[in-house]
Amino acid sequence: MINLPESELNAAFGGSEPTVLSEPNFWRRAGHSLLHDPIAMCSFAFIALLAVVAVFAPFIAPFNPLHEFSNGLSFQGAPVAPNGHFLLGTDASGRDVLSRLIYGARVSLMVGVVATGLASLIGVVIGTVSGYVGGVTESILMRFTDMVLSFPILLFCVALIAVTGPSARNVVLVIAFAYWTYLARVVRGQVLSLKEREFVTAARTLGVGHLKIIRKHIMPHLLPTIIVYGTLGVATSILIEASLSFLGIGVPLPQASWGEMISEGQQYFQVAPWLLVAPGVVLILTVLAFNLAGDWLTDLLDPATRDMGR
């Protein structure tokens, strides 16, 4: 072993070049920026609220979302408009719209977060491997990415669900499988430039293994990108889930989901417009919140200019 000062050995084997996230006053900067950005603050507050509502749905929802109330339909059998008892009215089966919205938040968030997590995992692994290993492996993986990217995302999801059958698990898997490509491309680009940087060369020279280099020296630099793409990805996944449910091949009935509520409501929109307005507004606000949060994170972490340009 070469004789090196302990600090340099530590740098090579243990820690890494500092990243945005490990800057000494990163959290203070983040908090400061958040306090001065009311839009971002509202977005995070809305996401937090949604998460609380989803987790504690059984305690928050006024009624059972699946119960068909006998007083939930008018004498003509039409849905009841919003009133003191049913705050957002009832649907065509006499079920409480507010309770269904609250339970629908569970589906949307669960699918959005899990699918994006899975997509990020696939994307990061494929992107890192192809960027780091290079050569034939890279060509094969990237051409495969191009192929998956050529399928229009929604049509691809729909076709995959059609052959695998609709279930909550399949919806998550299909969205993950259709969505990982974007992150894979970005990550590959970053790894390509990261692996040429001095600290990686230094670690290599000292005989640090490839896996450890990726884990200790490359991953930390990819984290900002993963966070930003993850946040924006949740918005996209929620939209895809809603679209699939709208088409009737999402999470199976009678489970409440926002897309399915809109789909059911469209038949009654002339007599009961609240059936369309309520889930639509909640869906838009949710997607908007994740998009705005993603924008704010991009400004804060700035993955493109911070890690790729150098």
Binding site: R143, F144, D146, M147, V148, S150, F151, P152, L154, L155, F156, V158, A159, L160, I161, A162, V163, T164, A235, L239, A242, S243, F246, L247, G248, I249, G259, I262, S263, Q266, F269, Q270, P273, L276, G280, L283, I284, V287, L288, N291, L292
Partner: protein, 312 residues
């Protein structure tokens, strides 16, 4: 340059080949029992076996794959299972004109709304128009198209009978206004942001400064310098959008009742018509690949910087 073109063409063909293979895998290998899916849950085992033979499912995977490729080369996408005796290719061919009109309409809305909004917002940053465009863009990017479409139908077609509620008829343009608007609004939102950013950059660049100093009228600067720079990336993305739209826009076609490729795909899903699903997905993917090729080549001719780089 020729070398690059040949390489790019080969690469495109490779991706098309891969897309075809992927479609084969999903249609014939992923489902546990494609014949059962085709025959339906009530079919007898004998009927399932006969369909399996008819589909060639009793042969090896490789021989199935080869005959799948052979049929494709003849433009044969198979026979629909749900629509008795109709070929997938003829159905798609018949639906394509509607989708094409819708797609072009969507592109027109994207251009008509997105580009002026972006340019005006960039010329008057922080003005009322800029703020309005920003909020509109955020809304356009976050609103699910199916919800937006239903709202448009409710207010503009049902409440105020300005437009037909759904379906197609004569003149076709009339029936396409709302659907194409729904289709284009997301892209318009995206382009207005993109154009705003690029125009802001171009307005600060030395050559615009110089043009101003020598007294060139603002209008000439806009059309001769600013637009040229700001629109090149937009053209690229518009091409990609066209490829994407031509593949059929499932949801918009289904809520507006347009008998296009997307509607075809949607109907074939409810009947589990595997050849039709594979056919539509395949056609959509091929449109995407070909359009991205066309865009890439066009770009090389429009932008001298790209051309010079590739000529090397």
């Amino acid at each position: 340059m020729t070398g690059w073109l040949v390489r790019r063409t080969l690469q495109m063909l490779l991706v098309v080949f891969g897309v075809v293979t992927l479609a084969f895998v999903f249609a014939y290998i992923v489902p546990a029992n494609p014949a059962r899916m085709v025959a339906g849950p009530q079919a007898s085992p004998a009927a399932v076996a006969s369909i399996a033979r008819q589909l060639g499912l009793d042969r090896s995977v490789w021989s199935q794959y080869l005959s799948f490729l052979g049929r494709l080369l003849h433009g044969n996408l198979g026979v629909s299972f749900a629509l008795e005796g109709r070929t997938v290719a003829s159905e798609i061919w018949g639906a394509l004109p509607y989708t094409a009109v819708l797609a072009v309409g969507g592109i027109v809305w994207e251009i008509v709304i997105g580009i002026p909004a972006g340019i005006i917002a960039a010329y008057r940053p922080k003005s009322f128009i800029d703020r309005f465009a920003t909020i509109g863009a955020l809304f356009g990017l976050s609103a699910p198209p199916f919800w937006l479409g239903l709202m448009l139908i409710y207010f503009l077609a049902y409440k105020v009978s300005l437009f037909p509620i759904n379906g197609v008829g004569h003149p076709l343009i009339w029936y396409m206004i709302l659907p194409s608007f729904t289709l284009g609004i997301g892209g318009a939102a995206f382009y207005s942001r993109m154009v705003r950013t690029t125009v802001l950059q171009v307005l600060r660049s030395p050559f615009v400064e110089f043009a101003r100093l020598k007294g060139m009228p603002e209008r000439t600067i806009l059309f001769r310098h600013v637009m040229r720079h700001a629109l090149t990336p937009v053209i690229t993305m518009l091409g990609m959008d066209l490829g994407y739209f031509l593949g059929g826009v499932l949801i918009i076609e289904s809520i507006f009742g347009i008998p296009g490729v997307g509607q075809l795909a949607y109907n074939s899903i409810s009947t589990l018509d595997v050849p039709m699903i594979t056919g539509t997905v395949l056609v959509a993917a091929v449109f995407m690949v070909v359009m991205s090729f066309v865009v890439d080549v066009t770009y090389t001719f429009i932008d001298p910087r790209v051309r010079l780089n590739r000529a090397k």
